[in-house]
């Protein structure tokens, strides 16, 4: 069979699968299939491919999407930051203003109209504390206990004032494992979230027998305490490359032991196979990314007792099948602290003022928006940056670039970040960077180990760190602007540390099966009780 004929046949097979062939073509294909084993094999593979795509999980839009739309239109209408095009109607701008106003009212009314019956059903169900979501809720979605997030973050609380969705029956435990497809960002507003207060006031106490059963479940209580700011530790307890995350994570059985000693925090009844991590991400978006990955892969339940919320903007329980998986979760979270950062370093290269791949010139001291897979390779520093450094003939400059890159990788976790139109950048201007550089102790530019910045005492909080990008004033745009980086201690500009409260996350990793109907959560004493 000629190549052309084969290609033609292949194209016909695809359309044949979709039942998009005319009668003649269909007969022709079927005749071919009857005699050509290769064609049958190809058809089988194409069918498997189609099925694989169809098998991808689906998300549901948040139930407050209409409400969010309303808010965006309201903002748009009031600020007129993005004037509505007059082309939309013949009525011109005034018509559109009226239309936007009508939309605000209309969407508000409609969202309440559409959601209220669901909410009423939800509220009328005694003891209903869990909400499910998803088109195939009973198969896909693990139970999620929706709770208010900290007031500071606000992002867990978007639907708290909106009527909640009707819950679905809770699936068996083995359906949870690894089936979670919803992500935190989406779940925040669609879970039929009940506020902590409302949930406590409306949910009747579990029957005594049920409570006794629940008592057998691991119960985790984190009492209020100071924010723990210990360094990253590996599973073995030794510092290792996970420390490059530059954030606060802690192995939890050790965490509990040490904290008891330190009196920082008490974790009671911690099951021996439960690991607790605390992580502070560079931003809430990074936190959501990590949580989303966890939710994609494990049975999960989101918890955020109000008492904890002051320390961790989100708390999540995940169930993993074995200790190896638990180890991966720990390492994964640790890595994600840095990998998430690396994702946003730059499109191909850390900007050096001249090396933007698109040929443009990035402002000195600025990190270009974008991502490169290369940047995620290795834990030492981005491979492509290493390559860039190699191309610099001056060894001292090359080393400076390497140092800057690896510190930048680290710095994205602990450094100061600005979110800019969907991307991130470290320091918006060279002046900003230079002002930091000028006060950065020189010793900080030579960390003892890659990705582990030297602890440099300085003014203000000892645990606060900032990335100082060495960008000499007046640096020509064509010369490397990012020559080095250093760390220095400085007072935090935000309460609770460098990252905002909504970037903190606590994760309880349980080895074992998820509870069949959420007894662990029910048995967990509510915060403050």
């Amino acid at each position: 069979m000629s190549d052309d004929r084969r290609r033609e046949l292949e194209a016909q097979l695809s359309a044949y699968l979709d039942d998009e062939l005319g009668l003649d073509e269909r007969r022709e294909v079927e005749a071919r299939l009857a005699v050509d084993e290769g064609a049958r094999e190809l058809l089988k593979e194409l069918r498997a491919t189609v099925e694989a795509v169809r098998g991808l999980p689906r998300a549901r839009a948040s139930e407050n999407l209409v409400e969010s739309l309303r808010a965006r239109m309201e903002r748009q209408s009031l600020l007129e930051s993005r004037p509505v095009s007059a082309r939309a109607t013949g009525g011109g701008r005034s018509y559109l203003k009226w239309m936007a106003a009508a939309a605000i009212v209309g969407l508000t009314v409609a969202s309440g109209y559409l959601m209220w019956p669901l909410a009423r059903e939800h509220f009328n169900r005694p003891g209903q504390q869990y909400a499910m979501r998803g088109e195939h809720k009973s198969e896909v979605e693990p139970p999620v206990l929706g709770l208010r997030d900290s007031a500071e973050s606000g992002d867990f609380d978007r639907s708290a004032d909106a009527p909640a969705a009707a819950p679905s029956p809770t699936p068996p435990a083995d359906h949870y494992l690894g089936r979670g497809v919803a992500r935190e960002s989406a779940e925040d507003s669609r879970d039929g979230v009940l506020s902590d207060t409302r949930r406590r006031s409306e949910a009747p106490a579990a029957p005594a027998a049920e409570r006794r059963q629940d008592d057998k479940q691991p119960t985790v209580v984190a009492r209020k305490g100071r924010m723990v700011t210990s360094r990253v530790e590996s599973q073995s307890g030794a510092e290792d490359d996970a420390a490059l995350a530059g954030a606060k994570t802690q192995r939890v059985d050790e965490f509990a032991r040490r904290d008891r000693v330190a009196g920082d925090k008490t974790v009671e009844g911690l099951a021996s196979k439960t690991t607790v991590l605390e992580a502070t991400f560079a931003s809430a978006a990074h936190r959501r990314e990590a949580v989303g990955r966890l939710q994609d892969e494990y049975a999960f339940r989101r918890i955020a007792p109000a008492e904890e919320a002051g320390e961790a903007a989100a708390a999540l329980e995940v169930w993993v099948p074995d200790e190896e998986s638990a180890r991966r979760v720990v390492k994964g979270v640790q890595q994600s602290l840095s990998s998430g950062d690396v994702l946003v370093i730059g499109d191909g290269l850390v900007s050096n003022g001249a090396a933007k791949p698109d040929g443009g010139t990035a402002p000195a001291g600025m990190v270009a928006e974008g991502a490169s897979h290369e940047h995620r390779k290795g834990t030492d520093w981005p491979a492509s940056v290493g390559e860039e450094a190699k191309s610099i003939s001056d060894p001292s400059k090359a080393e400076a670039v390497r140092r800057g890159a690896r510190n930048l990788v680290y710095g994205l976790s602990g450094g100061r970040w600005e979110e800019q139109s969907g991307g991130y950048g470290a320091y918006r201007s060279s002046a900003d960077a230079a002002s930091l550089t000028s006060s950065a102790p020189a010793a900080a530019a030579s960390p003892a180990r890659p990705n582990q910045p030297a602890e440099v005492p300085g003014p203000g909080a000892a645990t606060a760190r900032r990335l100082a990008v060495n960008t000499p004033a007046g640096q020509p745009a064509t010369a490397p602007a990012l020559l080095g980086a250093g760390w220095h201690a400085a007072p935090s500009t935000r309460p609770g540390g460098l990252a905002s409260a909504d970037s903190r996350l606590r994760i309880y990793v349980h080895v074992g099966s998820a509870p069949a109907s959420g007894p662990a959560a029910e048995s967990r004493p509510a915060a403050g009780e």
């Binding site: 694989a52 689906r58 998986s325 991502a371 969907g422």
Partner: protein, 202 residues
């Protein structure tokens, strides 16, 4: 009355309902528009997700889609169905977003994604003779998603619209404003490429 007839009548009724809603929305009835939003929000969200590759962005993209639709509904000429027009916006918004953001690969917590990070423990070959046997459903899904993301925007869009959203070739042709033959060839090439990438696991 047989089931098919009932289904057809139901579809026709829905189409009529939709036409009424669209007409009302065109005249400024935002209750009608919000009902259209509710009707399509999940499908638009999933289209945005799979084309943009990021669920984190998909909700924003879905919102952007509906905002654009609301702004432009006065221009909607009813020469095509509302949903084809809406999905055209969603596809364009998602592809634009993707091009703007560049590829943002996701790192799995559970699987070596080729970056050299987080390798799986060595597999016991005696207990796992088939490579696919070592992959969980989630891992296969992740591979499928990666495969999708590796496709050209045009190929990915047509696969998402066909295999995830279930549009037929004519509808896809209207959404993308390309001839049906182009839909057919794009779909074929996209699937062949995807098949090649997934050959070892399917």
């Amino acid at each position: 009355m047989d089931k098919d007839t009932v289904g057809l009548m139901s579809t026709a009724l829905r189409a009529t309902d939709e036409a009424v809603l669209v007409e009302s929305a065109r005249s400024g009835d935002m209750n009608a528009f919000s009902r259209l939003v509710t009707q399509y929000q999940d499908r638009v969200l999933n289209t945005c997700w799979r084309i943009s590759g990021r669920l984190e962005d998909a909700e924003d993209l879905a919102q952007e889609t509906f905002l654009k639709a609301m702004e432009a509904i006065g221009n909607f000429r009813r020469q095509s169905c509302f949903y084809t027009w809406l999905f055209r916006i969603a596809v364009n918004v998602s592809i634009s977003h993707r091009r703007r953001k560049g590829r943002m690969p996701r790192l799995s917590l559970h699987r070596d994604d080729g970056s050299g990070e987080w390798p799986d423990p060595p597999a016991d070959s005696s207990r796992a003779p088939d490579p696919s046997a070592r992959l969980t459903g989630q891992e296969v899904q992740a591979l499928v998603q990666e495969g999708l993301e590796s496709l050209d925007d045009d190929h990915r869009a047509v696969i998402v619209l066909r295999d995830m959203e279930g549009f037929d070739y004519r509808q896809i042709s209207e959404i993308l404003q390309v001839p049906e033959g182009t839909v057919r060839s794009r779909l074929h090439r996209g699937r062949m490429e995807l098949r090649e990438r997934l050959k070892k696991v399917l």
